[in-house]
């Protein structure tokens, strides 16, 4: 599941969710502005892996997340390689991957590699954050930025119910299976209709739960004085957060300067030129 928080006591876990959101922003800005494999490795990749290591999360867990996407990524790489020469003037060295049809250049390889790294980095970032931050922290953050409090609470409660609902749907399915229920068709319309015995009790039960929760939270004093309700976990930025924020901001500036805005040195030609000068 995508929201499986991994509890921990590391410095990263203890950061304020807002700092963590800045962390995501930093990785995103860096990956967007940098367009060269070496720079991507030096900045965003190092940032992601470094964070994972400090947080005690095995890099293999992150790699595992990317694994199912490998076929798509390979396809993506090939498409990039294919299109590159038609977009840019092919500077040598070049060679034919499929004679007369598929020409590949060193620049092209670097460009495709950079694209690939960007995607992987973005996927890993999101994954890493959901592992390190309870989803409720994000909701709290949202409430800090004027997201309605009652809606935030509703979201928290809804998420708390996920395990209950999963169990319920499972037992509904079993109840029908023992009455001989089985999908016996491949026709999509018939198939959808065949799911009625599962879907109807599930919907009814979640509607009923909705009403039950409304009663339940009232009985626990929810309507007492909503405007002055205490939110126990008030978000507070502490020294760790300030230091992290300064560090991340610096990275963003560096990224922007060497990437898109200023020097524009972090383009894919950087590595290919470097390789060329080594070869010659």
């Amino acid at each position: 599941m995508a929201i499986d928080y991994m509890p921990g006591e590391t410095i990263i876990h203890k950061l304020d969710p807002r700092t963590k959101i800045l962390w995501i922003t930093t990785v995103v800005v860096l990956t967007i502005s940098l367009f060269d494999p070496i720079f991507l490795l030096l900045l965003p990749a190092a940032l992601i892996i470094g964070t994972a290591v400090i947080a005690g999360i095995k890099v293999s867990k992150l790699v595992g997340m990317v694994k199912p996407l490998v076929p798509i990524l390979i396809g993506f790489m090939i498409v990039n390689l294919w299109y590159y020469p038609s977009m840019h003037q092919a500077t040598p060295p070049t060679f034919w991957l499929v004679p007369k049809h598929f020409q590949v250049s060193l620049d092209g390889i670097m460009y495709s590699l950079a694209c690939l790294m960007k995607y992987v980095a973005l996927i890993m970032t999101i994954r890493l954050m959901t592992l390190l931050t309870p989803i409720y922290d994000f909701i709290l953050t949202a409430m800090k930025f004027k997201f309605p409090r009652s809606a935030g609470l509703a979201l928290c409660i809804g998420l708390g119910y996920v395990p209950v609902l999963i169990n319920e749907v499972r037992s509904i399915k079993e109840s029908q299976e023992v009455r001989g229920w089985k999908i016996r068709t491949n026709n999509p319309i018939k198939k959808a209709r065949a799911y009625a015995p599962i879907v109807i009790p599930s919907i009814r039960s979640s509607l009923r739960r909705g009403e039950q929760i409304a009663v339940a939270i009232e009985a626990r004093g929810y309507g007492y004085d909503i405007a002055h309700r205490t939110f126990r976990r008030e978000l507070k930025l502490c020294r760790k957060d300030l230091m992290a924020i300064m560090f991340l901001s610096a990275l963003i500036i560096v990224g922007l300067v060497i990437g898109q805005w200023g020097l524009r040195i972090a383009m894919w030609t950087f590595t290919s030129n470097l390789l060329r000068s080594i070869i010659h």
Binding site: P7, P134, Y136, C156, I157, L159, G160, Y161, P163, V164, E168, S171, I172, E174, S175, Q176, E177, V178, R179, G180, W181, K182, A196, P197, I200, P201, R204, S205, R209, Q212, I213, V215, A216, I217, E218, A219, R220, G221, Y222, G223, Y224, D225, H228, R229, T230, F231, R232, E234
Partner: protein, 576 residues
């Protein structure tokens, strides 16, 4: 003079859309610090009474409320539910309604947060509650992943942090296994000795609570029919039993013995009390009589219905739910499967209908290897009644609901028609054939659930906890039904936490503990092994415990009040 925390004067309430009042003419005063047990059959108005006290009536559930309710000086009709919550902590009957926060800690802090208390105070109360409920270790767990007893403890803890002066506990143990119930009762006893709170409990488990409460209130059809000290109220054991309540065997036996001329100084309500009294009467020890038991197992020569050989089941990643279970069930047996939650009962029976496949070992049902069968193939041979009938109901009338299974197995139209009527006849629901299933009461829906399975004409019937969501009488109804089917030759397996039901009906009991078979034998034999049962926190029926206490005089394997009367020496009747 003590202050009354709760005063009800001529209170009646009719839910919107209903023609009959749910409670009528209730007059009740509960003084501060009193501990009261409210009991009565399903539909007696117990929960409605609770809703009147915490303001859900009339602020959430609309209807016509007459008479006057006063709760710690407040009038619920003019007070918000939130304000009343500061005075009345309410534990809902449905456990999933008590727990809705992501962690145990959040759950306990929820109430005080609503009251706008400062975080340090909330923390203090949370820590205290965690201590009382012994949940310190689980502070950051999702409450839904705790055991049943711990979930209930967490729910109680979440009410304690509100520091309400009145606690209303609506069937705090109804969905718990014996261990969870025992733990909850211990928690309640702790609370009673710690704090001077007004405590009102709605419960069916009179046996456990009567000895510890100050007052007992019996409701029926919306009225209070008995009210007083438990010892006084229980003198009406016959009347209570006729309402379908589970009267402690001690009081039932006492009533029978009194009829025969024995007098007690104090009407006994616990096993210890009556055992003491009877011991005194039986001073002269005579030879221990033997029970004239009729049950010789006739099933022994029958052919094998289910066979499990060295069955193990492991849920991923590595939860061993069953370990090396071997058993043989013959055609026509009536078996009770008991054990705590997590002992593997449901996992075991799910193998008998192909919902689960063995991780190791082999299960055969009528010589068919289960690992090659699917539930829908087995549906005509094995019927499985789940606990919650609402999980399967999806049609808008009773007839279609039953036909669903029959159409799944591809029966012809006229066969479907006749089987539907036959099944409804058996569960006494033929009158409801064209009704909307949800217009029926829960007990009736439960029977409808059984009918949907019966219509498939299975040779083996498995019933998961016949008492869920019902009172004792509802459970007895289902058991009577299965008894009839068993008499017709069907093999019946019942999973239950209710030892009285098991002892009354089944011929063979299988006790599971930690995924292994701990005991397996004739009901009488299993229930007399008190020591072994206590290892898994199961207590045999109270009458068996009374007999065991009188082991020097009587056989220790008595299973019912009638049997007890049979073996009691005649000399005690009319002796004093």
């Amino acid at each position: 003079m003590s202050v009354d925390d709760i005063v009800l004067e001529n209170v009646s309430f009719t839910y919107e859309g209903s023609s009959e009042p749910a409670i009528r003419d209730i007059n009740l005063r509960i003084p501060r610090g009193q501990v009261a047990l409210v009991t009565g059959p399903a539909g007696a108005g117990k929960t409605t009474l609770c809703y009147c006290l915490n303001g859900l009536i009339p602020n959430f559930y609309y209807g016509q409320l007459t008479g006057r309710v006063t709760v710690r000086g407040l009038d619920p009709t003019r007070t918000s539910i939130g304000r009343l919550a500061r005075d009345v902590g309410y534990l809902f009957q449905d456990p999933s309604m008590n727990l809705f926060c992501p962690t145990v800690e959040d759950e306990m802090a929820f109430g005080p947060e609503n009251f706008g208390l400062p975080p340090c105070e909330i923390e203090r109360r949370t820590v205290e509650s965690l201590g009382i409920t012994r949940l310190e270790k689980y502070r950051l767990r999702n409450p839904h992943y705790l055991s049943g007893g711990q979930q209930q403890a967490c729910a109680v803890g979440a009410i304690l942090t509100m520091r309400s002066n009145i606690l209303l506990l609506d069937e705090p143990t109804s969905n718990l296994d014996p261990l969870g119930s025992a733990n909850t009762f211990t928690l309640i006893r702790d609370l009673m000795s710690r704090e001077q709170k007004t405590l009102i409990m709605v419960e069916h488990k009179i046996q456990e609570l009567a000895p510890i409460v100050d007052r007992m209130i019996v409701m029926n059809e919306g009225r209070i029919i008995l009210d007083g000290e438990p010892r006084e109220v229980l003198k009406n054991a016959d009347e209570m039993e006729s309402l379908g309540l589970k009267v402690p065997h001690a009081s039932m036996l006492a009533t029978r013995v009194i009829e025969r001329g024995v007098r007690f100084d104090n009407f006994p309500i616990t096993a210890d009390e009556i055992a003491q009294d009877l011991k005194r009467l039986m001073k002269a020890r005579t030879a221990v009589p033997r029970l004239n038991t009729r049950e010789g197992s006739t099933a022994e020569e029958n052919d094998v219905a289910i066979e499990a050989k060295d069955l193990s089941h492991t849920y991923p990643p590595d939860t061993a739910a069953l370990r090396h279970v071997s058993l043989t069930i013959r055609r026509g047996e009536f078996i009770g499967i008991i054990g705590q939650n997590g002992s593997g009962k449901t996992t075991l029976v799910k193998h008998f209908i192909g919902l689960l496949k063995p991780t190791k070992g082999k299960v055969t049902v009528f010589d068919k290897d289960i690992s090659q069968a699917t539930p829908d193939e087995l549906a005509t041979r094995v019927g499985f009644c789940f606990q919650n009938p609402d999980h399967q109901i999806f049609s808008d009338n009773v007839k279609k609901e039953i036909e669903f299974g029959l159409r799944n197995i591809g029966l012809p139209k006229d066969e479907i028609e006749s089987r539907t009527r036959e099944a409804l006849e058996k569960v006494k629901l033929l009158w409801a054939i064209d009704r909307d299933p949800f217009s029926l009461g829960l007990g009736e829906r439960r029977r409808l659930g059984v009918a949907t399975v019966l219509a498939m004409k299975p040779e083996i019937l498995i019933v998961d906890e016949p008492t869920t969501g019902q009172d004792f009488r509802g459970g007895v109804e289902i058991m009577n039904l299965t008894k009839t089917l068993n008499d017709e030759g069907k093999t019946v397996l019942v999973i239950t936490h209710d030892m009285e039901l098991a002892s009354q009906f089944v011929n063979r009991v299988i006790v599971l503990k930690d995924g292994e078979i701990m005991l397996d034998g004739p009901t009488r034999e299993v229930f007399s092994k008190t020591d072994q049962l206590s290892q898994t926190s199961i207590r045999p029926p109270q009458i068996t415990m009374i007999a065991q206490k009188l082991n020097d005089y009587l056989p220790g394997d008595v299973l019912s009040v009638e049997e007890m009367l049979e073996v009691l020496p005649n000399s005690i009747f009319g002796a004093n």
